[in-house]
C-alpha cells in the first residue's frame, strides 16, 4: 500500500460543466485576443466591440507578408526570422543552462563542498534580482565587447538567467535518487562518467524535461533585455510585437493579436504535455513524498 493516500475526491460531468464555465470566464481575455486575430481592422476597433463578425485570415498572412499599399507588392516580413530567433535563442539558452546546471547540480548533490549551502544561496540570489539592477552594466559590457546585437550575447545572458533555477531543481532530483544503484554500478567497474550518463541521467529524464519546459516559459516572453540587447537580425518576437505598436496609423490590434496567438501556440502545446511536472517546478521540489 502506498505510504500515504494521495487520491483526491472524484466528481462527475456536472462539476466539469461548472469548472469549464469558470475556467472560460477566466480565459475570456485570451479568447478575445484570439478572436481579434481573426478580425479586420475595422472590426477590431468596432464600437461597440463585436462578438460576431466575418472572420478573416488576413492578419495571419500579414504576419508573414506585408503588402505595400502604394506598390501593391507583397513582401515577406521578418516575422519568420523573429519567430526563429525566439525559438533558437530560448531553446539554446535553456538547453545550455540545463546542461551546465545539471553538471553543477550533480556536483552539489554528490560532491558537497564545505560552503555548499552558501554557494547555492548565492546562485539563487542572482535569480531574485530585479533585472534593472544589471541592465546598465550589462548594456555597457555588451556594447564594449561587441556582443550587442549578436546571438551569443543574448544567449549567454539568458543562460545565466536560467542556471540558478536549473541547478536548484535538478539538484533536488539528484538528491532523491537511490545511491545504491550507483554504488552497484561502481562495484561492477563503471567509471564515474558511465555512472552519470547511463544511470543517473535516465532516471531523472522526466524531471529534466520539466525543468526545460519551465525555463522555456520564463525565457520565451522575456522583453526587457531582448529590447536592449538584440539587434535587427537577432530580434525576438516580444520586441517585434512592441515595435509593431509604434506604427503610423496606431496599433494594428488584429495584426498584434495574430502574432500573440501564433506565439502562444508552441508554449501552450509544451505546457499541456508537461502539466504535472510543472507543479514540481513551481515549488522547487519541496513538495515531495
Amino acid at each position: 500500500m502506498a505510504r500515504k493516500h494521495r487520491e483526491i475526491g472524484k466528481a462527475g460531468w456536472g462539476y466539469t460543466a461548472v469548472t469549464t464555465f469558470v475556467g472560460f470566464i477566466y480565459f475570456f481575455p485570451v479568447f478575445w485576443i484570439i478572436l481579434t486575430a481573426f478580425k479586420t481592422r475595422t472590426d477590431a476597433l468596432a464600437v461597440p466591440p463585436k462578438l460576431f463578425f466575418t472572420p478573416t485570415l488576413d492578419n495571419f498572412t500579414s504576419v508573414f507578408y506585408r503588402t505595400s499599399i502604394s506598390t501593391g507588392n507583397s513582401q515577406a516580413t521578418d516575422m519568420g526570422l523573429y519567430f526563429f530567433n525566439s525559438i533558437f535563442i530560448a531553446g539554446t539558452s535553456v538547453g545550455l543552462a540545463l546542461i551546465v546546471g545539471t553538471l553543477a547540480a550533480y556536483a552539489f548533490s554528490r560532491y558537497p563542498l564545505r560552503g555548499n549551502d552558501t554557494y547555492l544561496f548565492i546562485i539563487l540570489t542572482t535569480r531574485m534580482m530585479p533585472p534593472i539592477v544589471v541592465i546598465i552594466p550589462i548594456f555597457l559590457m555588451f556594447r564594449l565587447s561587441g556582443l550587442a546585437g549578436s546571438y551569443w550575447g543574448i544567449i549567454l545572458l539568458y543562460t545565466a538567467f536560467n542556471i540558478p533555477f536549473s541547478v536548484w531543481l535538478v539538484k533536488s532530483f539528484f538528491d532523491e535518487l537511490n545511491p545504491e544503484i550507483e554504488d552497484a554500478a561502481r562495484i561492477d567497474g563503471s567509471t564515474e562518467g558511465r555512472v552519470f550518463f547511463r544511470f543517473c541521467i535516465p532516471q531523472i529524464l522526466a524531471g529534466l524535461a520539466a525543468t526545460f519546459v519551465f525555463g522555456l516559459i520564463l525565457t520565451w516572453n522575456e522583453f526587457l533585455f531582448a529590447l536592449l540587447l538584440t539587434g535587427v537580425e537577432t530580434r525576438t518576437v516580444p520586441v517585434a510585437m512592441a515595435r509593431t505598436m509604434g506604427g503610423e496609423v496606431g496599433v494594428d490590434y488584429g495584426l498584434l493579436a495574430a502574432i500573440v496567438t501564433l506565439f502562444l501556440i508552441p508554449i501552450f502545446f509544451v505546457t499541456f504535455l508537461l502539466q504535472n511536472q510543472l507543479l514540481r517546478g513551481v515549488t522547487f521540489g519541496t513538495v515531495k513524498k
Partner: protein
C-alpha cells in the same frame, strides 16, 4: 573500484580527481553566472559610488555615498516606493484570493480536468507585452469591452485609466489575472498532498468544515502560501513591462513603479550612477525578502513528515 581515467595519469587525472571533480563540474555554471550576473552587479555597485553618466564622456568622479543620499532624500523616490508597495500589495492579495479559490476548484478529479486546467494556465504563458497591450485596449473607454459591459449598468463610457486610482486598479487587475494561476498551482500542490485518511478521521470525529480546514488543510498549504506570497512579491516588485505599456507611468507619473522609474533614470535621463544607487537599495530589499523566502522553503521541508 576502477577509475580508468585517473589511472591514465597526467593532466586528465589531476582534473578528474575525485577531490576536484566537484569543483570542475561546477565551474562552467559559476563562470557564466559570474560574467553575466555577478560581475555586472559588482560593476554597477561600483558605479553607484561615482557620478557616471552614460551620455557624457567626462571622467567620473568619486562621490562616495552622495548618490545614495540623493536617492533616499528624493521625494519622488519615496513616492515611487509607495506606489510600488501599493501595487504589489493589492496585486499579491488579489492573487492569493483568486489563486486559492481556483485551487479549491481544481482539487477534485473530474473528466477533462487537464484541459480545463489549461484554460486557467494560459494567462501565465502570455508575454507581459501582449497582456499590457490588450488590457490597455480592454480598458479603453470607446473601444474596450470593459467599458462596453459596464455600459449596461451605467450609461456613460467607463474611463479606467484616466484617474490614478483607476490606473493602479487596471495594472493590478492585469498582473493579478496573469499570475493567480501561479498561486493556484502552489496551493493545489499543497491541497493534493493532504492524506485522505486525515479527512476521514475528521469526518468520523464529526469535526465542522471550518475546523477541518483549519486543522488539517491549512498546515499543508501554509508554507506554500507563504512561498507564493514572497515569490510573487519579489516578482511584482520588479514589475516593469505591464506598467510601461498600460500607463507608461501615468497619469502624471502616478503609477510609476520603482522599476519604471529606474528605467527612466538610467535610460532617459542618463543619470546612470544615481539609478545604480537606487537599484542597490532595491536589491537590498529583495535580498531581505529572499532570505525570508528561503527560510519558509526550509520550514516546509521539515514541517510535514
Amino acid at each position: 573500484m576502477a577509475d580508468t581515467a585517473s589511472q591514465r595519469g597526467g593532466f586528465a587525472a589531476w582534473l578528474l580527481d575525485p577531490k576536484r571533480r566537484g569543483a570542475l563540474l561546477v565551474t562552467p555554471a559559476i563562470t557564466i553566472l559570474f560574467f553575466m550576473n555577478i560581475f555586472p552587479l559588482l560593476w554597477s555597485f561600483g558605479l553607484s559610488f561615482f557620478n557616471y553618466k552614460a551620455s557624457s564622456l567626462k571622467v567620473p568622479t568619486f562621490r562616495g555615498l552622495s548618490n545614495y543620499e540623493r536617492v533616499l532624500t528624493d521625494e519622488k523616490v519615496w513616492d515611487r516606493f509607495q506606489t510600488t508597495a501599493l501595487i504589489v500589495g493589492s496585486s499579491v492579495v488579489l492573487q492569493l484570493i483568486v489563486g486559492f479559490l481556483l485551487a479549491l476548484m481544481f482539487a477534485k478529479a473530474f473528466p477533462m480536468r487537464r484541459l480545463v486546467l489549461m484554460l486557467v494556465l494560459t494567462p501565465m504563458m502570455l508575454s507581459f507585452v501582449s497582456v499590457g497591450v490588450f488590457f490597455k485596449l480592454f480598458y479603453e473607454p470607446t473601444f474596450g469591452i470593459v467599458s462596453y459591459v459596464l455600459n449596461f449598468f451605467t450609461t456613460e463610457k467607463f474611463v479606467l485609466l484616466g484617474s490614478p486610482e483607476g490606473a493602479i486598479l487596471g495594472i493590478v487587475i492585469a498582473d493579478a489575472w496573469m499570475w493567480s494561476p501561479f498561486v493556484m498551482l502552489l496551493v493545489l500542490a499543497g491541497l493534493v498532498s493532504v492524506p485522505k485518511y486525515l479527512y476521514e478521521a475528521a469526518e468520523i470525529d464529526r469535526a465542522s468544515k471550518w475546523r477541518t480546514f483549519w486543522t488539517i488543510t491549512f498546515p499543508y498549504i501554509k508554507s506554500l502560501l507563504l512561498l507564493a506570497v514572497l515569490f510573487r512579491t519579489i516578482e511584482t516588485f520588479k514589475l516593469f513591462d505591464i506598467v510601461y505599456i498600460i500607463t507608461d507611468g501615468g497619469p502624471g507619473g502616478m503609477t510609476e513603479t520603482i522599476a519604471v522609474y529606474l528605467y527612466r533614470t538610467a535610460f532617459q535621463f542618463f543619470k546612470t550612477s544615481q539609478s545604480s544607487a537606487l537599484a542597490y537599495i532595491v536589491l537590498f530589499i529583495v535580498i531581505v525578502l529572499t532570505n525570508l523566502y528561503l527560510y519558509a522553503v526550509n520550514r516546509r521541508a521539515e514541517e510535514i513528515d
